[in-house]
Amino acid sequence: MNRAAQAALLLFLLLFLFAPFLVNPGLVFLAGFAMIQIVFALSWNLLFSYAGLISFGHAAFFGIGAYISAVALRDGYEIHFVLLILVCAAFGALAALLVALVVLRRASGVQFAVLTLALSQLIVVLIGYSSLLGHDEGIAAIPRPAIDFGLFTVDMNQPLTSYYFVLAVCLLAVGLMWLLAKGHVGRAMRAVRIDAERAAFVGIDVWRVRVIAFTISGAFAAVAGAMLAPWSQIITPDYVNWLQSAQPLFAALLGGAGFFWGPVVGVIGLSGINYLTRTFAGLSEVLVGASLILVVLVAPQGILGALKQLARRRGGRTPGGHA
């Protein structure tokens, strides 16, 4: 990663750290929402930029986490919230594993992407029939938990505490994904993406690596969903819909598909556009569309790709940022 990109990421981290002291509560809420979307987008990117698989229905796993978390909090289950996040991750991983075991045997390209889309839309339909999940209206007024850590309690009803808890969980999730991406598993995923046959020649079981990638990705998407329930306090089928599945793709395109940190830049960029155009009905979507067209035409490798090229032209450090 070049210095400009490193500086930008450090700036984003500082902004997230000090947001509650710098901006109004409305923006703090959006910052928390953006952090959750970053985890979701990175989980998708782990699959796309590392394992070379495209999921058009990744919101299914996000939704699994969101709804399990929402139901457990709404119905007052006696479960520690940290444990609940892990349960959501386990269910997200299990669902992804089942899909991968069935689908990846036969498809890994466009068919795989379309099948994941069909799965997420099926879940949207099923939610519509479920009174437990609040039908099409979803689950509203989700209570925020007070999380007992023995020595101290994190009460998510306190806005500041709630924000920093979300930030801590998101940083932890991002850190874990980064470690995975840079470790043996990530390396094997990249090998499979670059050339599956070549990967087999060095003893990598391509199918197994793809299944592992999809399972891990599903788990992290569910963690993001689990965090959204207490943060936004409302979960609707929109969070499982195809448009939610498209968010990580937009973020990766804007920030830089192929870069681990690309979706982070992308989510922040998209959040900025959404915020600045919030008062103009319909303008936000137009601007998001225009930005993506612009990026695809001018900087096909996204913002980080453009920064990398710029650094290369100026003779700065270039390698290392690419997935």
Partner: protein
């Protein structure tokens, strides 16, 4: 350790290899020579199940490999360095080497990165460079280093000298022999460069149009003067 019993190999309708027998003992080094299209690469690919449809039995340590996938055979200790090197161009040299160690069942006693670099000093200053930024010779050395890093028991090298400068070829032979002796690796080397093949191995198999026309040691081969003219001359 490796035994091929009456191997026939096909690409679609094309019958490439006809009734090939081959036995390789542990630590033994064998060359497979022949003109372009003789079936040398197909033979190596047949051993790891990497492309051709194979009829006949391939067994490793007496265990029939049957339909076992290429990746599973590699994990058992059979390592193929194909003709086009097949290094990963978008990741670094160090990552290429580490990848090989991920793809092996053997987790202990594998050569460390330092050992690999010590054996192939050319790679020392290139570890952080992307695979695609290496020259042909460097890529070949990396491909062999990567193979050795996986701690194989049997290495299959497909035309490693192709496109390399003579000085690099000389050095490569040394490195291959050294590594095979140090780690007890058996070698099947498909090669057109007879001098190189002879230097690296003790025995050879001569193929022509997918059939075996000679099998024996290099001394015997040297005595049959017509073999080179008939099957290897351009």
């Amino acid at each position: 350790m490796l035994e091929l019993h009456r191997i026939d190999a096909f690409y679609g309708q094309a019958h490439i290899l006809h009734d090939i027998p081959l036995k390789v003992a542990a630590g033994e080094r064998i060359a497979v020579v022949g003109r372009n299209g003789a079936g040398k690469s197909t033979l190596l690919k047949s051993i790891v199940n990497a492309g051709p449809i194979v009829r006949g039995a391939v067994s490793l340590d007496g265990r029939p490999l049957g339909n076992m996938s290429a990746s599973d055979r590699v994990r058992l200790g059979v390592s193929l360095v194909p003709e086009d090197r097949r290094i990963f161009t978008h990741i670094t040299v160090a990552e290429n080497i580490l990848l090989a160690q991920y793809g092996t069942e053997r987790k202990h006693g594998l050569p460390t990165m330092e050992e690999v670099v010590e054996r192939f000093p050319m790679l020392k200053d290139l570890l952080g460079r992307l695979g695609g930024q290496l020259s042909g010779g460097q890529q070949q050395v990396l491909a062999i280093a990567r193979s050795i890093a996986a701690g194989p028991r049997l290495m299959l090298l497909d035309e490693p000298t192709e496109g390399l400068a003579p000085v690099i070829v000389e050095d490569l032979a040394e490195k291959i022999i050294e590594a095979c002796d140090t780690y007890g690796i058996a070698l099947v080397l498909a090669e057109q460069n007879l001098r190189f093949a002879r230097r690296c191995t003790s025995r050879m198999l001569l193929l022509d149009s997918g059939t075996t026309v000679f099998s024996g040691d290099w001394t015997e081969f040297g005595k049959s003067t017509d073999l080179v003219d008939r099957y290897l001359a351009v």
